[in-house]
Symmetry: C2
Subunit: 370 residues, 2 copies
């Protein structure tokens, strides 16, 4: 598939070669990023946003691209992440397919896409690549690093690998280590893709594409990104009108919830590269801050040095459950940070940080305003 890089996205070359934690290296790799606001003269007002698995670097609209971004309501002049005050950088994750180098990118050594010759990706590799972007902008220390979901893992790795790289940290619905429920979900997503005959060991093209595997993977993702509580109120048992149902199909869509999942799948399956999905998902499974604490996640977290921190999440998150944000807050406090744990009653599950701006916005704004 072709890489879809939003207009206005900037690119920066990574050091070449760029070695990976688990072996292998990239040559001629690059990172995609976007920025908002102005870096001040002291270069001390920079905020880095590290994303979840699938977003690109276009977190919000700007002069170079007026299209709304994936965190449009959170980021901009006068918003919770106020671009009148902060110089904000958002990177597309290393290993993704939205401009940064990943398995779908062309390997300059062969002229062909990496596919499964891409080295095994770790969250730490993504953190080092994001740090290289920040360095390229002449920023010695971030005012804050904000990481959402997978980006919450990347942010912890960023702070562990680069002591003093940020004064403060906001961890949004993140975790310090993958637990078995989330590993099981991601393992199933990978299996659905890999069992699709069109995946073909990673060697597919637009005409022969593992659409069915991606469809199952995405729907399973959506099931775990939202919450049963939200769906009870939003969909209940509402059925589709008979003309939408396709009555000739005994096991076709019957309920609104089925159409909702299908719509999510159709938007996603051709817009994200399947091999990149495999690499990024696996990197989350493998991440464990306990490696930095002699097997103890709290000790690992306590090795992080920031002045202030906030770990925030919601009660209805089944993928990154709330106790994982509490663990992060506890661990950063053990490391000496002024650390707060914020539990929100959002019904929208793991995705709440994307949609429940009424709750997440004030919490993030309040932290940044201090």
């Amino acid at each position: 598939m072709t890489e879809a890089i939003p207009p206005g996205t900037r690119l920066v070359n990574l050091p070449s070669p760029f070695p990976f934690k688990r072996g292998g290296e990239l040559k001629g790799a690059r990172m995609a990023y976007e920025t908002w606001g102005q870096l001040n003269a002291a270069r001390d007002n920079a905020v880095l946003i590290l994303t979840g698995l699938s977003p690109n670097a276009h977190a919000a609209s700007h002069a170079g691209n007026p299209e709304p971004g994936w965190w449009e309501a959170m980021l901009g002049p006068g918003k919770a992440i106020d671009t009148d005050r902060w110089f904000v950088v958002c990177v597309n994750s290393l290993g993704s397919c939205k401009g940064s180098t990943g398995a779908a990118s062309v390997d300059p050594l062969t002229g062909a896409p990496y596919r499964l010759s891409f080295p095994e990706l770790s969250i730490e590799d993504g953190a080092r690549a994001a740090h290289a972007v920040v360095q390229s902008l002449g920023i010695a220390q971030l005012a804050c690093v904000i990481g959402n979901s997978m980006g919450g893992m990347t942010a912890l790795a960023y702070l562990l690998l680069h002591p003093g790289a940020a004064r403060t940290h906001i961890n949004v619905s993140g975790s310090a280590q993958a637990l078995p429920f989330s590993i099981a979900i991601r393992s199933l997503q990978r299996e659905a893709i890999r069992l699709d005959p069109q995946w073909n060991g990673g060697d597919y093209d637009d005409a022969h594409y593992p659409e069915n595997g991606m469809r199952i993977a995405r729907k399973l993702g959506v099931v775990t990104y939202r919450s049963a509580m939200e769906w009870d109120g939003r969909f209940g048992r509402v059925k589709l009108d008979s003309e939408m149902r396709g009555d000739e199909d005994l096991f076709g869509q019957e309920f609104e919830i089925e159409r909702y999942l299908e719509a999510h799948a159709q938007r996603f399956v051709r817009s994200f590269d399947p091999n990149c999905y495999l690499y990024l998902g696996r990197s989350m499974d493998l991440f464990d801050v306990a490696e930095y604490g002699g097997g103890d996640a709290i000790k690992g977290l306590a090795g992080i040095q920031v002045e202030r921190a906030m770990a925030i999440g919601v009660h209805t998150d089944i993928l990154f459950p709330l106790q994982q944000q509490e663990q992060i807050a506890d661990g950063l406090r053990a490391g000496g940070a002024d650390s707060q744990f914020v539990a929100l009653p959002s019904p929208q599950g793991h995705d709440a940080f994307l949609v429940d701006i009424a709750r997440f916005g004030p919490a993030i704004a309040g932290f940044l305003a201090r």
Copy 2:
């Protein structure tokens, strides 16, 4: 696939034709069942067990089949469901593939398996078929009908369709209506099977079998049958020994939780018919007691007349969440029953009734002893 009927299973013919709620009918259909204990002279000590989606009628060992059954620890002389006192009947669900007629059975009119020519199955059809088994045994009124999971739905339908058919009722991890999270999970399971090219519109055989689709469906089932809490303690982040891992496979099994899911899938995929899985799952989605209460589930439940009832479940069940058992208890109480709601702290999720006998056993024994 061939039907696997445990030895010692008895068969009884259903009335022929046997019409279905949503249209269509079966001719020459039969039900498989097993019994334990003795029916007393008054014929008032019979207990009916209605199962979840996949079990056969072999709930426990007996003289005709000494193999342990799926509820072995719960059922037998001196156990919670005491066969020294009760005459216990367990039926294989209509539409299943363990002796009762289902999509994998041979249609006597054509001499070939029904496959997708089997009529659309409703929970109510299964309830009427189970009632026919009970009638064939000369039992006018059950002492108790016990329904687990899907069987909890079937039990409610049984009581709605056959007033006075039981004096008491135990609803175990059941629900009065499918809610969107569980519909979404089952819809995904069906989609995984139907997208498998070997499913072939329901026309498969042992040599061309939708094993990959069934593998995904079963693993997704197991993910929702257990709980994240249980897995945190049981598996954590334990990895497989390198010799089990298959290091040549970049995205193969790495964690114990992945091996656990694989073992579950391997035991299941060839032992349950894929088409039957589709029919039974869909029947659960469609079930809604509110149809019997003018759109109100509580009013529908209040139409059920039993002397005593207990709805029991666990805090960690994400597929049939605890509030659904509370709703059943409330509705039966509104109908005049002496009705209790029992919430257990089992960590094992929806499957707890199968494995946490230490908690479920005393609750069920106590109810039956009154």
